[in-house]
Amino acid sequence: MLSDVNLLGPELVLLVVGGFLLIADLFVKDRRLLMGTTLAALLGSILYSAVLLTEGHVGSQGFGGVLVVDEFAIFFQILLAGAAMAAVLVSTETMQRTPSRRGEYLALILFSTAGLQLLAGSRDLIMIFIALELTSISQYILVGFYKDRWGSEGGLKYLLTGAVASAVLLYGMAILLGLTGSTNLSEIANYIAWQGDGNLDALILAAVFLIAGFGFKAAVAPFQMWAPDAYTGAPTPIAAYLSVASKAAAFAILIRVFFEALGDDLLAEHWKTIFAVLATISMFVGNFFALRQNNIKRMLAYSSVAQAGTLMIGLAAISADRGELLGASGILFYLAGYTVTNLAAFTVIILIANQNGGSYDIRKYAGLGKKSPWLSIVLAFALISLIGLPPTAVFFGKIYLFETAVQSGLAWLAVIGTVNTLISAAYYLRPVKAMFIDSAEDETDEAPMPRPSNSVIATMGLVTAGVLVIGLHPGLLINAAEAAVAAIFS
């Protein structure tokens, strides 16, 4: 039993510190101390995961098969904790805006991170449900955290839609449970392997409901509509966090459920079609809606929908005959690259917003290249990476994913993906153009923006370096992703 607690380590650190923060908030007023504690917790969780990896606990199941610690889970634990760290680091201004709710803020971030990490490692329907709800509820609150008209509205919409989505998810789980008589993924897999073909319709309905539930978290069209509103209303660090963390966890659990539990061949054919179609829809929807956005947060929200579609290509490839390893590792690799890139973009956006009165209007970015060149360069770099131009992380992510598509005979999907790259270039380049080419309508305030806090600069440097490193030497990360997915598919 104690060993099981050991396996729970990474999440446990976060939960305990989160709880501690709730109390500490009542006495400690120093923001730095609170943030420091949070960051320490996240770092600890990362280290713990690393220790679990090196200490040979890999592959051991805990809590009666409810939780598993394999390279896959650890990959995501580290990724998610990292994303959370970035989100916390850039939250300085957010916490200045809400001085009396800092503890809650940080604690909720920790809780939802823990929930996502558990999601990546859980192998039991009930566990999945609880972990999902833990993150969801924390995020509902975080989105509405400013309590202003936009934040509250975004939060409410997120919650109501999410509640329906989780109800649908639950119905799917219920059907699955009733069919297979077990909540454990591997036992479900056994059932399907032996007698699944009898109740294909029921299985597929359950699967569709599951897809709806998880796709909601991943913001895949047509389950994406909450995303723009939630991102726009939420505090920007939270928007960044949502755009990368919950997407990552959602894909983790999609891979787990659909290829540990429902990965049987007689279903995989259907998954292939479904995921391919979803990928197409969500790439086109995301890109087309993003074309005309003037609020950069909203634009990035739609772009994250499109990116989710790109990731879906990987899922489709997994289901195809040849591409298990390639597809899954492609998803992981792309997720990592996308995470660092998007965090870089959001970091800069936050800094810029702090400068020009908290506004996110792309048109207000005019002439920024002169005022604060480094910020502009980083943002431009991040956006170029989001397009998928070299020498950046997403460039290789896309090449990798498209190769998996081609390799699994889905070349048409690769073409659609690249065509969407074309569309996306049109709107990703808009801020670049505004910053470097247009000149500010009021040349009066040539004053360079106030120097941001060290933490933010550090974050910016870290994520940008990440984008560049992954872009220039993707080999390491690709090998890591391989190792991670090898835990599932082998």
Partner: protein, 104 residues
């Protein structure tokens, strides 16, 4: 005829659909929440039906599942109502067809 699993499942399905319809069609945020609650109840009913007619371990896991669902539902409602309250403070309304600042 004998009342069997299917009856309960059909009942659950119908309840689920009614709840879904309410969630889809009510103007008032609290109304939407009510719909969601109905949907969750439908799920619970389905699960319990399985626990009654399924094998032993199903019987247990489903009931545990239901306990969790009920707890989570309560939590969701609490947060939802809190958010609705905040929206009301900001906008003097909680009807979802008027809280559309964010769109497009």
């Amino acid at each position: 005829m004998i009342i069997g699993l299917e009856h309960y499942l059909v009942l659950g399905a119908l309840l689920f659909c009614i709840g879904f319809f309410i969630a889809l069609s009510k103007k008032n945020a609290i109304g939407v929440l009510i719909g969601v609650e109905l949907m969750l109840n439908a799920v619970n009913l389905t699960l319990i039906a399985f626990s009654r007619f399924g094998s032993a371990e199903v019987a247990l896991s489903t009931q545990v599942f239901v306990v969790f669902i009920i707890a989570v539902a309560a939590a969701e409602v609490a947060v939802g109502l809190a958010l609705a309250l905040v929206v009301y403070r900001n906008r003097q309304t909680i009807s979802v067809d008027r809280t559309t600042l964010l769109k497009g």
